[in-house]
Amino acid sequence: MSFPWANQYKPQNPFMQWLDSRLPLPRLVYNSVGAGYPVPRNINYWWNFGALAGVALVVQIITGIVLAMHFGGNTLVAFDSVEHIMRDVNYGWLMRYAHANGASFFFIVVYIHIFRGLYYGSYKAPRELVWMLGVVILLLMMATGFMGYVLPWGQMSFWGATVITNLFSAIPLVGDSIVTLLLGGFAVDNATLNRFFSLHYLLPFVIAGVVILKIWSLHIPGSNNPTGIDVKGPADTLPFHPYFTAKDLFGLAIYLLIFCAFVFFLPNFLGHPDNYIPANPLSTPAHIVPEWYFWPFYAILRAFTVDFILPAKLWGVLAMFSSILLLFFLPWLDSSPVKSNRYRPLAKQFFWLLMVDLAILGWVGGLPAEEPYVRISQIASIYYFAHFLIILPIVSRIERPLPLPNSIAESVLGNDVNQAPAPAAQPAE
């Protein structure tokens, strides 16, 4: 793994030498996120979002562990214990607002990270597994986010849990038994809340494990870059540390500014006011919506209103899950040898159309299931699937890509590349 010209770990300190020959953990860090990992020199700010996602996960785990010290996973006390955290626990309000908004921000950075991968073709060979592990992380995040939203035991918690667990009842024959198994009863109740609390605590650590696998897999070919062309020599790369640690820290500072603006000044902007009403099993809120980051998928779920061979409900559920599972096949649906949309005039336009389509899906997903929104969600859902299953495979065959630069260094430095020899580009140790 890595490139032959990568900096080698050479500990000077006798203790570090002693440690390196017994437990080479500092060497692992050095080679993974230190000076020993060569990164294409031309990566832009869209490459900050992987590191930001890592930070967002750590923020969620720390604030979550704190909240679990004060929360009660029982229907009798759950709602009140959240208010106890808000009013009585020292800095409890800060922990809860950071955790609730942190979930939204985690999804924001992950979605941008995914869109960057789509635009620059980061899912293509040899990084298919990096992409697929990312889809696994997305699925785990969705499960974790959904179960976390149930814990405060407000009206949206209860009815969100009811709707989502009932998705499984669409499965023929065994659907109802599966729903009963998931809920631990015939309706969402204490057993459901208690197990969701347990799993909500577990899954972030599973995510952390998959993140490690993903970074491991990424570091075999190394990072992609805005040109999408492969690294050819030392002139194309810079060491991760200090160049990209510094750049990531700058991006992190901006991210934290925006995050804090929400936590301190708009803490409930991304939430739903109905979740401050305690759960009531006998009254459904007039308009149930999941958290904003599920809206595009929720729109696809609701787009099916007519039975066609299978019941409409089953179609909706299949389509919603397929919309994400589809991403596992993306590396093979797009057969263009050119990775970056910078050199794919046609694919680039369809990329932006997909972004518009997702924005429309997100918009109608948060609205009531009424006309004209149902019709809009149907058209937008069809386009979503058409993009991946029809448009992308055809475009990747008929498109005539623009000429690629000869090397990453040339794309950055132009013809000056010959005057800037490789060793000069490496930092002094």
């Binding site: 709707v163 631990g184 009863g185 007039a286 308009h287 019941p311 299931a369």
Partner: protein, 202 residues
């Protein structure tokens, strides 16, 4: 193999099998060694044990005995005027008890069964002689929301029965699905009339 013989702590059983392996006695016939059989048998035994243990870990998620303990409730129908409906809680779920008016009964009967997604007549869904009492679960068969229409002034949908606000399912005056994503009619729970004004659900 000689090493194994020299190791004093080896059991006789293990030494025996290694001897057989070396001398090839056990490979007579179909070519299956005694050790192959032991491998498969041990693996199968362990697999069954692991599956049995896994089942306990899965089945613990199913409803516990206190949740399963069947609860039936009795409902007094006297206060429910024609055209009104009440909601009662049964096994953690709402049940709609509705006193249909003549017009609603006529509307439910006027429908051609073949046109329905889940063909059932009003008679199928009510008790004989009591067809004004429509008793159904208040749980949308789509994704489990509580439909509107039981309480005064709520939206009853395009067919005058119930309307689920979550994903827009419309039910008619026999609580049959007429429009929207729900696959089946609102479920009719098991119930019996104890008298003209009392009904036992469950």
């Amino acid at each position: 193999m000689r090493v194994a013989h020299d190791m004093g702590f080896q059991t006789g059983f293990l030494i025996m099998t290694t001897v057989e392996e070396v001398t090839g006695h056990a490979t007579e016939g179909d070519g299956v060694r005694r050790r192959d059989f032991i491998f498969v048998a041990t693996g199968a035994f362990g697999g069954v044990g692991a599956a049995a243990a896994a089942w306990t870990a899965i089945d613990q998620m199913n409803p516990s005995a206190d949740v399963l303990a069947l609860a039936s409730i009795e409902v007094d129908l006297a206060p429910v005027a024609p055209g009104q409906a009440i909601k009662v809680n049964w096994r953690g779920k709402p049940v709609f008890v509705r006193n249909l008016v003549e017009k609603e009964i006529a509307a439910a009967k006027a429908v051609t069964l073949a046109d329905l997604r889940d063909p059932q007549s009003l008679a199928d869904r009510t008790k004989e002689g009591k067809e004004n009492w429509l008793i159904t679960l208040g749980v949308c068969t789509h994704l489990g929301c509580v439909p509107l229409g039981a309480a005064e002034g709520e939206n009853r949908g395009d067919y005058g029965g119930y309307f689920c606000p979550c994903h827009g399912s419309h039910y008619d005056t026999a609580a049959r699905i007429r429009k929207g994503p729900a696959p089946t009619n609102l479920e009719v729970p098991e119930y019996a009339f104890l008298s003209d004004t009392r009904v036992k659900i469950g």
